[in-house]
């Protein structure tokens, strides 16, 4: 599967798509990136006059790359948006650095297991100069609607 085809198969759109590009993917890892634009909807309220990307959004970005994109790749031809849906089922995240508007983040996820349509990954988010922003484990499931 081509890397750019994965994003086309994602069930998200603006304002809740947090993947620009899948940089690299194989059976064990995925790397993806996203640049937070200045006008993301949540900056108006988080925080007032002090825009910082919410941790839940960073977690969502990590899940969209490390679970959704990776899972679609691992499911291969079985996946289609019409008959399948996905859900994050757990996450445990630590945050080390704030992410401001216009910042680019790189997400690297390593498969812990993919069994019975459940994907569990160790996931790390980096700045473009390789500083760790957030790190943890996330799991999600794909299921027929």
């Amino acid at each position: 599967m081509y890397k750019d085809q994965i994003i086309e198969k994602l069930p998200y759109s603006t304002p809740f798509l947090f993947v620009d590009k899948v940089v690299d993917v194989d059976e064990e890892h995925i790397t993806g990136e996203y640049t937070f634009t200045e006008d993301e909807f949540f900056y108006k309220g988080h925080f007032v006059d002090n825009p910082i990307t919410p941790g839940v959004i960073l977690t969502e970005c990590m899940a969209q790359i490390g679970l959704a994109c990776f899972g679609i790749y691992l499911l291969k031809d079985a996946w289609d948006q019409k008959n399948w849906s996905i859900a994050m089922t757990s996450n445990e995240m630590n945050f080390y650095k704030p992410v401001f508007p216009k910042e680019k983040v790189i997400v690297v996820a390593t498969k812990i297991y993919f069994r019975f349509n459940k994907l569990k990954c160790q996931v790390t988010m980096y700045t473009k100069d390789q500083t760790v922003i957030a790190k943890g484990n996330i799991s999600g499931m794909a299921f027929k609607k």
Partner: protein
């Protein structure tokens, strides 16, 4: 391994994933993991993976789908142990 030993091992495995602790205390063969114990489908996968490790067996998709009650799980585990 006797049925009782197997049951006690299974109970230890499912305990961390159970929402309904009262149903766990009154565990019977008919207890349903999702309906009675309120285990979610993601943690049901963890139960199956933990069963694989604890009994050193491999559970295929078909068997996994059967493992929704205590009795059905014990049946699958016994079958897999017998065919080892």
């Amino acid at each position: 391994m006797t049925q009782n030993e197997l049951l006690s091992k299974l109970k230890t495995i499912i305990t961390p994933y159970v929402q309904n602790k009262e149903a766990l205390e009154n565990l019977t063969n008919e207890t349903d993991f999702i309906k009675d114990l309120e285990i979610n489908s993601a943690n049901l996968v963890d139960v199956v993976l933990d069963v694989e490790d604890a009994f050193d067996i491999e559970i295929d998709n078909e068997s996994m789908e059967e493992m929704l009650t205590v009795a059905a799980s014990i049946k699958v585990i016994e079958e897999k142990l017998a065919s080892k």
